[in-house]
Amino acid sequence: MEWSPTVVAELAPIIANSAIGEEYRHLVVGCGGTALKARPGQFFQLLCPSSGGEQPFLRRPMSVYAADPIQGSLEFFYKVSGRGTRGLASLKVGDVLDVMGPLGAGFTLPATLRHIVVVGRGAGLATLAPLAKEASAQAISVTAILSARRPDHLFSARLFQSHGAEIIALTDQESTSGPANVERILRRLILEGRCDALYTCGSSRLLRVQQRLAREFDIPGQVAMEQQMACGLGLCFCCVKEFNVGGKIVHRRVCWEGPVFDMKEALP
């Protein structure tokens, strides 16, 4: 049997790298076919350029915001927060970025689902964004509970909307983003029969609310988790997290067994 790679490191030309509000940026690069097979919830390891100082030695994991095999483009949404993302922010159209992926186990959307609820906060909104397109392709209806500090940080709202999702926007500024309010909204959706499964990323507090409801109503759910990584391929065991599997604590590699995990087993 002829071997062929399913993970590739390639030099991807920058198509766009624009500021979205004060903290976030939207990066679009051109990629080959292997990279564009990325599934919702999968991630890439980016070899970030130096930003005036020392070159970051390791790659930085970044979840996929969109992968378009027709356009040949791969998109990321990131918050400029450290050495790696500052380097990313310096990339200009025409530069190249070494991207490696797609990596990890993404979200699963079983065909039996009719209505799903997506709960995201902050940068987690980017990780959940590809679910919008995937669900719409499978004729699964989506309610997207999107939470951020300010209304202008709800950057994937339009994307969810364009795929027909119902948007519930919650912000700290409007004091609507607290866990109690999210629980109230989720209970209503569950009682209305509009929550066959939960998908979440970006907030431990919101994860805890959903875990409680998932157990109470026996609803399946998945959470995308973050962790500092080195290799991205399950080789080095530096990105392990603890999970509760049937009352037993087990270690799993976020890069390899994840980054998407069973919501009920995650320890927020």
């Binding site: 590739v8 030695f57 390791l58 490696m100 080195a230 290799c231 080789l235």
Partner: protein, 315 residues
């Protein structure tokens, strides 16, 4: 066409490039064709189940990284039942890295992994020896000789012994391993290091100290390969910061018969394949028929006497 094959410590390899222990697992098969490698080297196996060290387990450093993973291990039974079968489908020989806290435990583990499908044992004697206050076996010649003797008696497989760069006596330790029956030396493991977070004033690693690897350590370990290869007759496998073809050639010139690539794979998953292709190209360009001709080919007119080669340079 260059002959890339090499003979290393009882094994015949199709090329001199293999992974360093702890940087290789099934997941890499997504990125590279395993059948192209010279050999496989497993993550270190222990008898018992080990959870590994507290997080963070890795911190970046200039030109490399410091890790303190702590050898998480699913134990020897899991290895024999699962890992061994997974690698049976591939052509390269499987080298099993093992570790234990005492010489006797080391020997028992070596006997247990002496199984069909295992081509050689790499004894990671850079780990703490609980009989010597946690000092690594490979820190001293005496403790190295003792553990290697036990290992030698316990297995008929080729025995590779992985040394620590943290000793000041590396050629001596290497000779002790050779005399006790080692078939090859792996030079070397990571260099003991640490880093402190200036925000929190806490150590960057959960385990406080860890091992430095990557390009930052290459010149140090290269020197140790040079010293060791002159001190022993058995082959030396170079391991320390090798990221590209030039690094691999340099290690072979210093005396390595083969090389292990570790940290570089974390940055470029196809690093080993690039190096294999690069060695072929380097030899072709320089009209070198066999890659093994590079081993020890460094030209150093001042050190014809091997006894002088490993003493400290004149002050």
């Amino acid at each position: 066409v260059t002959n890339l094959s090499v003979q290393v410590g009882g094994l015949s390899l199709s090329n001199p490039v293999m992974p360093a222990s702890g940087t290789f697992a099934e997941g890499l098969h997504k990125a590279i064709d395993f059948d192209r490698l010279g050999a496989f080297v497993t993550k270190t196996i222990t008898r018992e189940l080990r959870a590994g060290n507290p997080l963070p387990r890795v911190v970046e450093s200039a030109g490399g990284l410091i890790n303190s993973i702590g050898i998480p291990s699913k134990g020897v039974a899991h290895f024999l039942e699962n890992t061994l079968a997974n690698f049976a489908q591939f052509a390269p020989p499987l080298v099993v890295s093992i570790s234990a806290p005492t010489a006797e435990e080391f020997a028992k583990l070596a006997a247990d992994v002496t199984q069909p499908g295992v081509a050689a044992i790499e004894a990671n004697i850079s780990c703490p020896n609980i009989e010597e206050d946690g000092k690594a076996f490979a820190m001293r010649a005496e403790s190295t000789a003792a553990v290697v003797r036990h290992l030698r008696a316990a297995t008929s497989l080729p025995l590779w012994v992985k040394l620590t760069p943290n000793t000041g006596d590396m050629p001596e330790v290497g000779r002790a391993a050779e005399e006790a029956g080692a078939d090859a030396l792996v030079v070397a493991n990571t260099i003991l290091a640490m880093a402190i977070d200036l925000q929190t004033f806490k150590p960057c690693l959960g385990n406080v100290m860890g091992g430095l690897s990557g390009p930052a350590i290459k010149p140090i370990v290269l020197r140790q390969v040079y010293q060791c290869s002159r001190a022993v007759k058995i082959p030396v496998i170079g391991c320390g910061g090798i990221s590209n073809t030039e690094d691999a050639v340099e290690y072979m010139l210093a005396g390595a018969s083969a090389v292990q690539v570790g940290t570089a794979t974390f940055v470029q998953p196809a690093a080993m394949i690039s190096i294999i292709d690069g060695l072929n190209e380097f030899c072709r360009r320089r009209e070198i028929a066999n890659v093994s001709d590079l081993t020890g080919a460094v030209i150093n007119e001042e050190s014809d006497d091997p006894d002088l080669a490993w003493v400290a340079p004149p002050q």
